[in-house]
Symmetry: C4
Subunit: 208 residues, 4 copies
């Protein structure tokens, strides 16, 4: 501990807290409609973008938590800079409820939905980039923050596998400039894809 | 840990966080009334559905946390799929504040209250089903995620006992199609019932 | 663990979560004013009941957390009933933001402020009663849930000391029926009083 | 433990919870605009003060958490008074979302922005003062709450280094009386400055 190193217990607790709150706040943005002479069932059906946005953002944040969890199984210590980088990662996660509502609000607006989808995608890209920055700092200089059991020879491959996130989210964001519906379908498909059981690439960072 | 197994500490911390937030957000949905020349006491009395909904949903989520707590005493390890299933379970719990407000808002509306009660019941059914899915994954293949002390011969009986949840919530939801008041009374009665001290079935999954 | 006993770690984590959220949600109820041609400084000064309510409720919930913390240093195990009683205790704590806003909103209304203050006081009484119920269950039958180091002969004295809470909050609530300002001053004074360093009664439950 | 001393585990969990919630609630205050015939992109660009306030406050609270984390690496035990002081520290942190919105709302108002910036700065000063009070209590009487490894001879120097916070925040607040824009620029610059990797003063309190 002599040079400012510390274990990661409180970092993980704090991250779990922020991610748990961000994911649970999503429901506050699904409004209870006030019908006026209309059928509540019909009104709720029209509200489908809110429900879809809730599910896609919940699953996406949930998967990010799972990945954060996987990553920190490989990390055994921390320092000032690493704590700060993790705070910046959490800042992008905690921002996600805002573009989620933006998309749900403007999906029926021909002009607004492009801007809203780009804002949603840009946030996703920011999250994915910060995830890479956090990992990159931990894995740099021969894995300075990693547990000894991690095979240093595999680090470049693991780091490359994490670049998939910003790339696909970036591509989906660019698609929004042409057709926001297709872009949102890609984000939904990615959320469902992350849910699938997997082996290989995604497990690359885990012990083998 | 060789094949991606991990302990459940962070999974439990994250779950506690999401459930604690969902349960505490319920109060944000009990609005402070703005009276205009009316007696505040009278206005608050008319607001009884909000208070009743707060209590019923708080107790229900609280009992789910207790059950989650009991279940995880029997689980010693986790993997990627199990983390994802638990995230989906949390997604149903975190959704509960929304139908809670829906019921409180539409209970005085002859048409709306059926839709609102069905939405409330359907969410309860979803929570109960996901609870069974999480348990089912942990208990499958001879209790692959369970601690050694759990008697494998009792697993089918424990799994059957957990099916009570989706069944009774499903029945209460169907009742809403005929009479939402009776349905809500059943949900309230179930919440109170879960509070009672018990032995036998509910403890079936615990060590004996 | 043979008969459904478990340790209190997750119970404390969950309680910390709910109390932390309830205390932090208080700020959401302090509204940012929308001035129209008026001086912002003047408007903020008129908003003093919101700030006072924030401080009093924050300190009160904070002190409850401290007391919960002290109590659980003496408790080493838990069971189903105890988990449920603690959930009901948390239900009263999590309700506090609502009467806090009620008081801040209706303090300038000659009729409403009596009802609002009674609602605030009644919630405080409910919290204090549930605190006694949780402690009473843990301390019953010769301190069934307590650590061995607790001197059983002192239990009746400790239990009596906890009755101070419901008594003084009950008295302050009754005062509201006569003069809500005096009642609120008593609640504020109690909050400040709890902050004072102390020895004796309040420490009675701690190890000696 | 004989005289009411206890370890700091639950204090840290509770603090992490409150700080995590306060930091995540910031996004709730960034409103989704309702455009009426205007371009959503233009409306969002006009909303820049909300985004800037989100980033500055998020980073500031995040850095406070990092500093709290560093401080508690040096603290090994707690007592009633210390718990209470920490609750008061958390009260100032949890208050920050309110002046954050105040500044974002009134930055375009020539009169309001002075009051809003002073309120923001005053909250920052209160946080920094309470941070010093918490540290001062732990470090008093020869470091009564500190781990043995802390060199007692360095305590006065460490305590002086923590006085930088209230001083610079106080100065930035006074600047607001002359020019709120410069004041806010200083707060933003400070937030960015805290992010920088550092050695020396800031690490003074850590083990060496």
């Amino acid at each position: 501990m002599g040079s400012g190193w510390t274990d990661t217990a409180r970092l993980e607790t704090f991250s779990d807290g922020v991610i748990a709150i961000a994911i649970t706040l999503l429901i506050l943005e699904v409004k209870v409609p006030h019908v006026a002479g209309k059928d509540l069932g019909d009104v709720l059906r029209l509200q489908w973008p809110s429900f879809a946005a809730y599910v896609v953002s919940f699953v996406t944040i949930g998967v990010m938590w799972v990945n954060h969890h996987h990553m920190f199984r490989l990390i055994e210590r921390s320092n000032h800079t690493f704590l700060i980088l993790n705070v910046l990662f959490l800042m992008t996660i905690a921002f996600l409820p805002w573009p989620t509502v933006l998309v749900a609000t403007y999906i029926h607006d021909p002009d607004g939905r492009i801007v809203a989808t780009v804002a949603y995608g840009a946030t996703m890209v920011a999250v994915a980039i910060m995830f890479n920055v956090v990992w990159g700092y931990a894995a740099a200089r021969g894995g300075r923050l990693l547990i000894p059991e991690v095979d240093r020879a595999t680090l470049p491959r693991v780091s490359r596998s994490y670049l998939v996130g910003p790339t696909v989210y970036g591509a989906a964001t660019l698609i929004a400039l042409i057709d926001p519906y297709i872009s949102l379908a890609v984000f939904a498909a990615l959320a469902l894809f992350w849910l699938l059981p997997r082996s290989g690439t995604r497990q690359a960072g885990t012990l083998s």
